[in-house]
Symmetry: C2
Subunit: 234 residues, 2 copies
DNA sequence: ATTATCTATAGATCTATAGATAATGC
DNA sequence: ATTATCTATAGATCTATAGATAATGC
């Protein structure tokens, strides 16, 4: 277990990167400093040169997971307030919540999903911060779009305010992710189809929940086209 | 720390009962045998007389949480297959998922929610069993009711099969519970209203997601009446 | 006599640090 | 000379057990 010699900064980053996969598949509590050291390919002592305590190291990982991700968010922030944007943005957010968006590392996204869930079982700090910094921004954007859709007549007005409807929409995606995004065998719920294929039914369900008619959904929502737009040629 | 003397069976049950609140607010991993003993009001050694290991004790708690709850389930099982039952049953299931049904102890229900969530982060065993034994049974019943509602014209047919629509409906409730059923301060998401008041908007959202028109929802879904039916006079 | 319970402690493991060693850059 | 890294280990804590003590029921 000799790791070669790196500069302080390089090593710090190498540790965080090397350790992230561990966090993606194990709760912070279960992880031992021994495992962390092994995953990072260094001695336990060296971890403590770079982080004052295990807790600080985990906190640094949290910050990695809260860190930038602007590329895809930027796209969303530029959406105009209309029905097309609503559908596009909701698809994007549901996909990101259920599966991930493919723009950042797979490992990082799995770590994020774990952290949000386990945070909900503890003090909620990570979930609160992630949702405030990332999700809520998109929800605001989509609220604008939903309001426009209501104005234009594509979605009827209702008792529930638009913002609340959007939170409810995203709860579905979050619930699906909590129950099934970890690759458990056998899966917790048998949907009669692979988890990935749940995406477009889930989006349609959410659009109906928002109040959109089936006819409008049919007109505005084309998952296949969206997938191609994202560059995912099959 | 002297607990008086009970028969073996009584003590075993007393331990399980005394320890449940701990499980309801702390993950099994974080709980130590010392804490378990303290919560049960006995010595650590005595725990090991009744359970071969900490893991066995936790497993016994799981079984307590998976245990009977027939009173309210029986009600659901007798529902006929029609639109009224669909609405009633969905309200019941969403409420039970988001808040609990008040028929079993508050503590037990909080423990169950925790166990399902943390199970999703581990091997999924508890979640799988709970959902198979409890939730899936109700989903089947509701699937029958949704099929009838489609037949009767209250809900249009769609690409998504009825059973899948119902799973998607329940995901929303589960996501809400995961994010907000623990009384975290400040809450993870600010809905602009207390969590409890989310119930009827969430049910209406789910009904729309199933495909029910707003007019039908207005006709069939009356949360206030349901609340009174459940005996919850304010 | 049997069974419930406790005190005390062994043994394992986990976090964290002290002190030695090796590589780098001036 | 400074900085990165390791080995070895202290100290705390956690699970589990051995052995002693006290209450119960025949």
């Amino acid at each position: 277990m000799n790791a070669g010699r790196l500069s302080s900064d390089e090593r710090r980053n190498a540790i965080l990167e090397g350790v992230l996969p561990l966090l993606a598949r194990e709760g912070a509590d279960r992880i031992t400093t021994r495992q962390l050291a092994e995953a990072a390919g260094v001695s336990e002592a060296l971890l403590y040169r770079h982080f004052p305590s295990k807790e600080h190291l985990i906190q640094a990982l949290h910050e990695v997971c809260l860190g930038t991700d602007e590329s895809s968010h930027a796209l969303i922030r530029e959406l105009e307030a209309n029905t097309v944007s609503l559908v596009l943005g909701l698809h994007w957010l549901v996909k990101k919540t259920m599966i991930g968006d493919g723009h950042q590392g797979e490992v990082k996204q799995r770590a994020i999903r774990r952290l949000i869930l386990s945070s909900c079982l503890e003090d909620g700090a990570f979930a609160r911060e992630f949702i405030a910094n990332k999700t809520a921004v998109v929800i605001e954007q989509l609220t604008r779009a939903l309001e426009a859709a209501i104005e234009s007549g594509d979605v009827p007005p209702m008792d529930e305010p638009p913002r609340l409807r959007l939170w409810l929409a995203i709860h579905g995606a979050f619930g699906a992710a909590a129950l099934s995004s970890e690759p458990l065998v056998p899966p917790i719920i048998n949907y009669g189809m692979p988890y990935q294929e749940l995406l477009s039914p889930a989006v349609r369900f959410a659009l109906r929940g928002l109040g959109m008619s089936d006819a409008s959904i049919h007109r505005y929502y084309n998952p296949t086209a969206l997938q191609m737009l994202e560059g995912g040629a099959p």
